[in-house]
């Protein structure tokens, strides 16, 4: 075939072959250009994931564990403490994401029309995007702990008799302090994205809806919301994944029991008993798996919502 081709350069069959090889070359180039990124992802992320997965199955030659088994998974799933940690972590991630999304949409709607001092308000709104989570956690401690500012102000104002009567908002079993911190931090993150969509879409779609007989609420519910929903979903998926797997905030603001999953996993990992390592890894795997699963389910649900 190859020998024949030059003899008949004008024959059609030689053309597709050339296109194919061009396509291959282009793929190669893209591959080469992407290689550094792929290497980093594979080594750091996949490598870590695979190592963690192997260790969670009890494979840890360094300390003489050479067998594969599901002991670690069995032991954590039968542990009541783990189950409660899991439920707590889901509660933290889900509640924070939902509250932050709703408030973010509301603030974006408020920030959309032109008004005096809009630039300043928008600056204040997005300011805490730059503040680290840790600073927010310290802020929540200062404000809402039993000896915090709000508690003392409430005492001073005579709303409660002593700071000790202030409801537990930090180190509490409902993780209210953690959720406050996440909501505070994530509202501008989601809000800025929603606002950008609102401004680029404009108000004409809502005008159409109003003109066709929708009242304000119907226009919001059936037109504005579906238009911004893809942005809300992408942003809140990131928020959900982050809040499900983040360690420092529940570590700083969480109750001693139950602990959030990442805290529990970290404590098992740093346990003096090396035999607890497989369990720590099994927990980490569960966190990774659940985050991925939740995100998938959430995206499916939101898509269905958008369609209706």
């Amino acid at each position: 075939m190859n020998e024949k081709a030059p003899a008949n350069p004008s024959r059609l069959p030689s053309l597709p072959r050339m296109r194919l090889s061009e396509k291959g070359a282009r793929r190669m180039t893209i591959g080469v250009l992407l290689a550094p990124v792929i290497v980093v992802i594979l080594l750091l992320f996949m490598g870590g994931l695979i190592t963690g997965f192997l260790r969670s199955l009890g494979y840890f030659p360094l300390i003489g564990l050479n067998d594969f088994n599901f002991d670690a998974y069995l032991s954590i799933f039968t542990d009541n403490g783990f189950i409660r940690s899991f439920v707590l972590t889901f509660h933290i991630a889900f509640t924070s994401t939902v509250i932050a999304s709703i408030l973010a949409i509301a603030s974006a709607m408020l920030l959309r029309p032109a008004f005096r001092g809009k630039r300043f308000v928008q600056f204040i709104f997005s300011l805490n995007l730059t503040i680290p989570h840790l600073v927010g956690a310290v802020g929540v401690l200062y404000l809402f702990s039993g000896s915090g500012l709000v508690s003392r102000l409430a005492t001073g104002a005579g709303l409660i008799d002593a700071p000790a009567e202030f409801p537990a908002l930090v180190f509490d079993p409902w993780a209210i302090g953690i959720i406050i911190q996440y909501v505070w931090k994530e509202i501008p993150f989601i809000g800025v994205i929603v606002l950008a969509i609102l401004l680029s879409v404009g108000e004409d779609y809502e005008s159409v809806a109003r003109s066709l007989g929708a009242n304000r609420w119907q226009a919001f519910r059936h037109v504005t919301l579906p238009l911004v929903m893809p942005g809300v979903v992408s942003a809140s998926v990131i928020v959900f994944a982050f809040t499900f797997g983040a360690f420092e905030i529940p570590w700083l603001l969480g109750a001693t029991f139950p602990k959030a999953l990442p805290v529990l996993a970290f404590e098992s990992y740093t346990d003096v008993d090396l035999a607890a390592r497989p369990q720590a890894m099994a927990m980490a795997m569960v966190i990774a798996f659940m985050s991925s699963l939740m995100i998938l389910a959430y995206m499916k649900l939101s898509r269905r919502y958008i369609r209706s």
């Binding site: 004409d204 159409v208 109003r210 003109s211 066709l212 007989g213 929708a214 009242n215 037109v223 579906p226």
Partner: protein
């Protein structure tokens, strides 16, 4: 059907700038097709949005059948606006788009389905229920937008530049569709356009706006035969304007004296206007002068000549056969048919066209 009256309607977007719409008085007849015509930025879309309730007037009133609707929410006015860029909801099927207004009114699913089907038949797109707006061409999107508006049986239908985003052959089709549906349903319809030809072909009556002000509100042919001002005549393709003085049905200009019984001014300073297609070349007779052909273009369906009469250049459009008889530089007789001459008031000097449009509107209206 509904009669719409705009009374002193004014819209100012901020205190300092000129009003976008300035004291409009228009009575839109019930069941008729009315065009708001004007160059871009003349306030025609703003006017339409005020009728739809999407913009609040700064001053003045809008009346539907004699009662003011300025305080009424857009969804309760029964005036539905179709936007220039269609704005079909991108995340909905064609059926859901068309049925939107009925869904908002709480109409049952099965009734919505039947009425959506009827609407698709009306706009000649049966079977398109499950398509997505993205899969439709511009003309099809326009039809769906129209169906979405018509399904709620509006009292007043508002169309913003309904033909401007379509290419030429689709435009003819759409024009026929709109005028067919409008005649069939008899909905009071207002449409906005910048294209005078579109307005003339579609509308029963045209309101011409310049810079937010009504210039003339009239039947289409009046804008050709009896325009109120030189600017109006120019907007409708008039090209020949010769200043002079008129008296007793005659006008004296730099190129001669002409009989002109049709006039907007009785006497004094005036402008002779005659449409290029109304000038006759080479005929002779009364109301004729001598001119010299300066240049000509053969366009196929017609020929366009530029003729110098003394120092004045006029444009003449003739049948294409004239090209064979006349060449550049020829001396020729130029006849202004007295019945086709229209005498206007003198052209305004300042930007403020209000004074002269007021005086000129009387004979036209």
């Amino acid at each position: 059907m509904t009669q719409v009256k705009l009374s002193g309607l004014t819209k100012r977007f901020d205190e300092k700038s000129e009003p976008a719409v300035d004291r409009l008085d228009i009575e839109i007849e019930s069941g008729k097709l009315t065009a708001l015509l004007g160059p871009s930025g003349c306030g025609k879309t703003t006017t339409m949005k005020m009728i739809a309730g999407l913009l609040r007037p700064t001053d003045g009133d809008i009346l539907f059948d004699g009662s003011s609707i300025v305080g009424i929410a857009p969804e309760d006015r029964g005036a539905v606006m179709v936007f220039q860029n269609y704005l079909l909801f991108p995340y909905m099927s064609v059926a859901d788009n068309i049925g939107f207004g009925l869904k908002m009114r709480g109409v049952s699913r099965s009734e919505i389905r039947t009425r959506v089907r009827d609407m698709l038949d009306l706009v000649q797109m049966p079977g398109f229920e499950e398509r997505r707006p993205k899969q439709l061409s511009g003309g099809q999107q326009q039809r769906i937008a129209l169906a979405r508006a018509l399904i709620v049986q509006p009292n007043v239908l508002l169309l913003d530049e309904p033909l401007s985003n379509l290419d030429a052959h689709l435009r003819d089709e759409m024009r026929e569709l709109i005028s067919g549906i409008q005649t069939e349903l008899g909905i009071t319809t207002v449409f906005v356009t910048h294209d005078q030809e579109e307005a003339v072909v579609l509308a029963d009556k045209i309101a011409l706006l310049f810079e937010g002000r009504l210039q003339q509100f009239d039947v289409p042919d009046a804008f050709y035969e009896t325009p109120g001002t030189v600017d109006i005549a120019k907007f409708f393709g008039g090209t020949n304007f010769i200043p002079g003085r008129c008296e007793d049905g005659r006008i004296t200009t730099a190129i001669g004296r002409f009989r002109a019984p049709h006039t907007a001014v009785d006497r004094g300073e005036a402008v002779l206007s005659i449409r290029p297609e109304a000038v006759e070349l080479g005929g002779g007779g009364g109301n004729s002068v001598r001119g010299r052909i300066r240049s000509h273009v053969y366009v196929g369906r017609y020929a366009r000549f530029r003729v110098m009469i003394g120092e004045v250049e006029i444009e003449v459009i003739t049948d294409p056969g004239q090209v064979k008889k006349l060449s550049d530089g020829d001396e020729v007789s130029v006849r202004f048919d007295p019945d086709k001459i229209w005498i206007l008031g003198p052209a305004a000097d300042g930007k403020d066209g209000r004074a002269d449009s007021d005086s000129a509107r009387q004979p036209a209206g």
